[in-house]
Subunit: 293 residues, 2 copies
């Protein structure tokens, strides 16, 4: 079985970022991370972004508010980063506390700074197949891995298990744009095993440790594991049972080191694209975008 | 085989409309139909809407511009109807001629008047599963028929053939919201017959006369035919070969008299909903919404 390591894809995106920073010397694409409160998962994601961005030649700035801040305080900070020309992308850690008016924020948000697809403009753009729309980074990471490893999508059966707004639903649209025949399964689906084991590509995005056994996979199919869970020993693991999958799948992404690794790289790629478009700069040549053998 | 006649569903929606008009005596929900040029298909759709709306107690007003009108002239008319409080819904006949800036129009459009889902707000709302979002009338008509005839969607396999922005893509989201396991096939899909004939519900939306033969349908499955085509004798027909389908399907919508009949009724339903929300009126009780046996 081929292990689809995220690092190879992330490294290539890193090169693109460094090329951008090199070409447009003096421009520092900057991400604002807006966080209310201090959930451990948010802090951990924030750390991994900041570590990554340093290496990519990009900036990530924290904007932190206490859990009990007022809506007015939140909107004031949001307005500041939304209007600041030195900030090119905004990542809002969600869910927000209930006193915050998320709709008010979304209505104001500049779609060009919305690099993780929370505004109507980008959600709609993803459905319309608009190449300029920013898809959710995790969903886009799945596409980057499949493309990067030259796994054929056109005409093939792709089965997504999970229907969230950050993975399942937008990913179904992205896969349709790649000409895959797309099936979305979820908690209410009957016979998920039967449906998934008929697919050429299975994307697991259910958030349950080791739930996807070999029965969900056709011999030699590709498995993309979006799950990030903690197993009974306290170790990170995906939605699939890796020990079973390696014996049956043709290719699969590990956890950690798979989709998650590419997700922060996609965030970086979206950020340079956002900065480029906000400053009306020409794209950097991406002709070295070759497949990994 | 059960013939899923659109009229029964449309009649029920008609009652809802008449109830609304009866309850809110003096309020006349009004649709603006904005048309540039005189394509026969547009004129025919416009006539069918106007005929229907008269019976439903609703108003449909024409706003017609010549094929060679300028963008300024178009936007001026659009602004008028978009801002007129006596207009509650807008239907724009598309595609528009190329001198018209459609993006400019969409940016301004009041989502509450966008009763056929062309603004980002409604497209995004459909993906998010927002019950207040207006879905495209044709896609919504499919759901109304399935619900009206009490055909189970939850957990069942639904296969949509076609991936347009008016049917396939939004319908996939609507069916997911009904808890179906949804597959979308299209022109680039391999083995469509095999995929479709595994489904409990097949929705044909390809626009090719009589293309869907019995090989695409599982014994006793439900077929919803969205196609409106003209056959070799000049008669209206759907995407399916009716003579074959009747021998195999458990239930199917005829063409004409199926989805198309319900589509204009859904447009009417969306219009009263739009009028109600723009005027902050309470919904009319729809407790008599019972299944057709």
């Amino acid at each position: 079985m081929q292990e689809l390591k995220g690092k190879l894809i992330a490294d290539r995106i890193k090169e693109e970022c460094l090329d951008f920073v090199g070409k447009y010397n003096g421009i520092m694409p900057a991400l604002a991370i807006l966080r209310v409160g201090s959930r451990e998962a948010d802090l951990s994601y924030e750390r991994s972004i900041k570590n990554r961005f340093v290496n990519f030649g990009l900036e990530a700035k924290d904007y932190e508010l206490p859990e009990n801040c007022t809506n007015e305080e939140f909107q004031e900070v949001f307005d500041f980063i939304n209007n600041d020309p030195e900030i090119h992308g905004i990542l809002v850690m969600r869910p927000l506390p209930k006193q915050i008016n998320e709709e008010e924020m979304l209505k104001k948000m500049n779609p060009l700074k919305d690099i993780d697809c929370i505004t109507d403009a980008n959600v709609s753009g993803v459905m319309r197949g608009d190449k300029e729309a920013f898809a959710p980074c995790t969903a886009q990471a799945v596409i980057e891995i499949l493309k990067g490893y030259n796994i054929e999508m056109a005409g093939k059966k792709a089965c997504i298990i999970g229907r969230s707004m950050v993975v399942g639903k937008p990913l179904s649209m992205l896969l349709l744009n790649e000409n895959a025949t797309v099936t979305v399964c979820h908690s209410k689906s009957e016979n998920i095993k039967e449906v998934a084991s008929d697919a050429d590509i299975v994307i697991a995005a259910i958030g349950k440790a080791k739930k996807i056994s070999s029965g969900y996979i056709k011999e030699d199919a590709t498995l993309i594991d979006v799950g990030i869970n903690v197993d009974e020993h306290g170790n990170l693991c995906g939605d699939c049972d890796w020990d079973q999958i390696v014996l049956k799948a043709g290719a699969a992404t590990p956890v950690p080191g798979g989709v998650g690794t590419v997700t922060t790289a996609v965030l970086a790629k979206h950020l340079i694209d956002a900065a480029r478009r906000q400053m009306n700069l020409a794209p950097v040549d991406d002709s070295k975008d070759e497949y990994i053998e």
